[in-house]
């Protein structure tokens, strides 16, 4: 869905507020707790990162812009846990389980196992199909308006670009969210001239690159 999260190309938010290198820290203890909880839940496989991202996309636009990053995480975790029945609203309010234990059905991240999870997971999957495009190919991105989750930003739709790399065959986020299947797809890095994306009058020294799954791409009719 094309909601508030798809920010690329919007204006009016004011200047960036740079933060010195000390910024790579938590700004309050609760932020660390949320991060830890999010990682423990992803490990449990109650849901995956794509579902988590899509849940954030469904935050109302006013909240999406008003809340901080970890506030968004907090609300998304609670809402998704309630939606998926990890606990009931009564249980959340009481802060105590009234029905049973989740550790029988879901994986529990322990102190012993946690170190292994600090290496990012791999979303590449084997498959028999060859990639449809090659490095150097011209492609046109689709005008895609998905009633669900997609990773092709609005600014990069219906634009002609060039494949500059093939990144392997990856879990397809659109499919994970819409029907819970990995449906792996070839992933490409596509480069667009800035003028193709932002118009003739834009800075000609700029190019934009996105990582695009094969279903987002087709061959331009005239090339």
């Amino acid at each position: 869905m094309d909601s508030m999260h798809d920010l690329g190309g919007m204006e009016g938010f004011g200047p960036v507020q740079p933060e010195d290198n000390n910024g790579s820290v938590f700004h309050a203890p609760w932020e660390g707790r949320v991060l830890g909880l999010q990682r423990a839940i992803l490990y449990s496989e109650a849901w995956n990162i794509d579902v988590f991202r899509h849940a954030q996309e469904r935050i109302h636009p006013i909240e999406y812009l008003s809340w901080s990053y970890y506030e968004r995480w907090t609300h998304t975790l609670i809402a998704t846990a309630l939606e998926r029945g990890l606990f009931s609203l009564d249980e959340f309010r009481a802060e105590v389980s009234l029905t049973g234990n989740l550790s029988e059905s879901l994986k529990v991240l322990t102190v012993k196992g946690v170190d292994k999870t600090f290496v990012r997971g791999n979303f590449e999957r084997d498959g028999i199909h060859d990639p449809q495009f090659s490095v150097g190919d011209l492609v046109i991105t689709k005008e895609l308006h998905v009633n669900g989750h997609t990773r092709l930003p609005r600014y990069a739709r219906d634009k002609i670009g060039t494949i500059i790399a093939i990144r392997g065959r990856h879990v397809f986020p659109d499919a994970v969210v819409s029907h819970g299947a990995e449906n792996p797809q070839w992933l490409y890095t596509v480069e667009f001239e800035g003028c193709e994306v932002w118009g003739e009058a834009s800075d000609t020294t700029v190019s934009n690159l996105v990582d695009a799954f094969e279903p987002y791409l087709s061959r331009p009719e005239y090339d």
Binding site: G8, G14, G23, S24, L35, L86, S97, L102, R120, V210
Partner: protein, 213 residues
Amino acid sequence: MSGSDHHDHSHGEESILTDIQKRVKALESILVSKGLVERATIDQIIEHFENKVGPHVGARVVARAWIDQEFKRALLEDATKAINSQSDFPQVGQHLIAIENNDSLHNVVVCTLCSCYPWDVLGLPPVWYKSAPYRSRIVSDPRSVLKEFGLELSEAKKIRVWDSTAETRYLVIPQRPVFLGVKSESELAKCVTRDSMIGTGKVSPLSEDNVNG
């Protein structure tokens, strides 16, 4: 998740805990009570992100690439494999991609759709990286945004803006500035700032204050 309660964050609280602190505490408590979460694990995760990973990891990778041409070649070919081949670096996940600045090209990284970031090598993302002003405007007007960071690029320099829209992650290899002179790898690493590895900042002559929080 409704639109109606966003005005209520900052007032009407009865305890000293803010609304968000209460919610996080309640979430942790119910998940502990459900047997899904162990508090000690959360402690361990926080410890990891507060003290173990951070821009100093990426800085060492960059410094080694500056010094060791063979490592740099391998890094640009497959950054995950190159880093994991070095026994003194922490292991990093798949599909880390190193992109190199040079005299005619500057690279800068964003995630317009959420806030994807190379945590393995840079640790926690800074607030601005996750903010609407950066995510909205770096793709359409990078030169002006970089100026706001104090990075004035020559008008002739090409800018590539990489939007992390999938599970690939990008690490910028900044140019080694002439002013750094001859230094050891660990001295050089101290000059590689986090922002220089995102593409929004300069390499600094000013030692480790810029790297370790």
